[in-house]
Symmetry: C2
């Protein structure tokens, strides 16, 4: 199969067609329209075999995941996802693999009403770079720099499941099949918090998606907002799968310092706290308050059952 | 060096700041503004070590080239380049290499007034995916589908030099140093025809950039416009470097079927031919007429000194 055949078979004419796309796949560029009084939000994420996923990841999960992690960045800005460009580097053409991989892509793209408008297909070690574009009303985007003293700190759902899935496999942990299945499902098919991000818009004071780990991602907000925080480790929501670990330290390590779950972390003022909780509930999201922003020279203080708790090593680091 | 340090040292605060960028590197997304009555043009190109370039390519050239090939796609639509997202996968951190590589990127970005607004840096086999965004007035973009019977076919400059540089190295051809130097320069530092693309806007009937080879890229225009063409191989402009090959067949093979020079191929009606030539001349571009669009069931007829000439094998193909 040649490059053009591959594009024709797996991309052209598949997926949704948005009315704001004048020209999709098949010319030197795509042509799209951004509505008036809106800004364009743009993000890029790369997944590399052996670094971000195991070689035997189900291809449908990989297709889902590479789009999900990009939509998660749009969600963290409160943007409405619109268009995707895909840079796909493949070692060879495996029709069965490609069919499942692109099924995974098209399924999530369709669910979130985003259109794949172009990209590049090349031969080489399996690497996928997605550039996602979304739309946000002028001046309404959520950034990392708006957290203020006294704001409450929330997460949109349980943390640590993706870490559990990865580490259970790496370390050969023995985990009940139902818990392993659930943890794998969260790693393979993360749900970007797109609706929640749009609900937060104009109410939350800052937001970020938890891709590198709760504490690492919170530290970006603290730094860019010029504030500190107190976090209660015992309040961080965790799943039944994670709770099945009988090692409390390990459980907290995964929940606090592992990324890849793609929940949102956000801050909100005391005045707006209850209203925002109620509004998120309407969208099926149950945010959990895990701490508060404080003025303490940018420090991050971690408590567990109100006792000081040592900060775990934070987040995934390339090139460390 | 960690990922954040790498981004800080080589990307953040370097390069130009455009007034239409509200938020650049450092949040979940960049935020930019598209002017009213304009469309957004989006393109993506990936370069992979060992496929698109040799491992020992000068890093400054690689940084230049990966941006140039993307700007060339914007040029082919008549778009004004605006913003770049970079997906950079590196096997390791080599400060000297990175310094030169990012110098090459920032130099060309500055020259064309484009801002690097974000991306992702990961560890893995050397692969670079750039997503370039540009702006074009509503309805004025150049596409591949507008060529009409009787239109003249042009290229914006000499072809085959990049192919000469690559093949001379691969095959160990003996070429005069000055010619080899010039051919390498064109392969390493291609000049995307950004100004020419904007001059063509609203006048040329179709355009494409020559990345896969003249005949392969022309065939896209023919297919998408539903027309055929006659090309005069002897009229295709070639450099002194390429002319120094004493094998005429090889010379034509490189000029007609090798890509990577990033000149534009365009069509223009007989009425607008002279005006467009004069206008391009004002921008230092000397377009050369190499044939004509004809109605002949989509066939591509190649003549050399008015004699039929066999079509060379066309274009670079992944997975062929």
């Amino acid at each position: 199969m040649k490059e053009f055949e591959l594009i024709n078979r797996y991309f052209t004419g598949r997926g949704i067609s948005r009315r704001d796309v004048d020209l999709g796949i098949g010319d030197d560029c795509a042509l799209v329209n951004v509505p008036e009084n809106c800004q364009l939000a743009i993000t890029t994420d790369t997944l590399v075999e052996g670094v971000h996923f195991f070689a035997d990841i189900p291809p449908r999960a990989l297709g889902h995941r590479v789009i999900a992690v990009n939509l998660s960045d749009l969600a963290a800005m409160g943007a409405e996802p619109a268009w995707l460009s895909i840079g796909l580097t493949l070692p060879n053409i495996d029709a069965q693999w490609l069919e499942a991989f692109t099924d995974g892509m098209h399924e999530i793209a369709e669910y979130y009403n985003v259109q794949i408008i172009g990209g590049d297909t090349t031969q080489g070690p399996l690497t996928i770079t997605v550039c996602a574009k979304g739309i946000v009303p002028n001046g309404k985007a959520l950034t990392r720099s708006g957290a203020r003293n006294g704001d409450w700190i929330y997460v949109t759902g349980p943390l640590g499941d993706a870490g559990l899935a990865i580490e259970a496999r790496k370390q050969g942990w023995s985990i009940a099949p139902v818990h392993l299945k659930n943890a794998n499902e969260r790693f393979f098919y993360p749900s970007p918090r797109v609706a929640a991000g749009q609900v937060l818009r104009g109410v939350a004071t800052s937001a970020i998606d938890i891709s590198d780990g709760l504490l690492a991602d919170l530290s970006h907000i603290l730094k860019q907002s010029g504030v500190g925080a107190v976090i209660h480790a015992d309040k961080v929501p965790t799943s039944a799968a994670l709770n099945s670990l009988d090692n409390d330290e390990l459980r907290l390590q995964l929940a606090l310092a592992y990324g890849d779950d793609y929940e949102l972390l956000f801050t909100v003022s005391d005045d707006n706290k209850n209203m925002l909780e109620a509004k998120l509930n309407q969208y099926g999201v149950e945010p959990v308050c895990i701490g508060q922003i404080v003025n303490n020279d940018g420090r991050l203080e971690l408590l567990n059952n109100n006792q000081p708790w040592p900060l775990p090593e934070v987040g995934f680091e390339h090139f460390s």
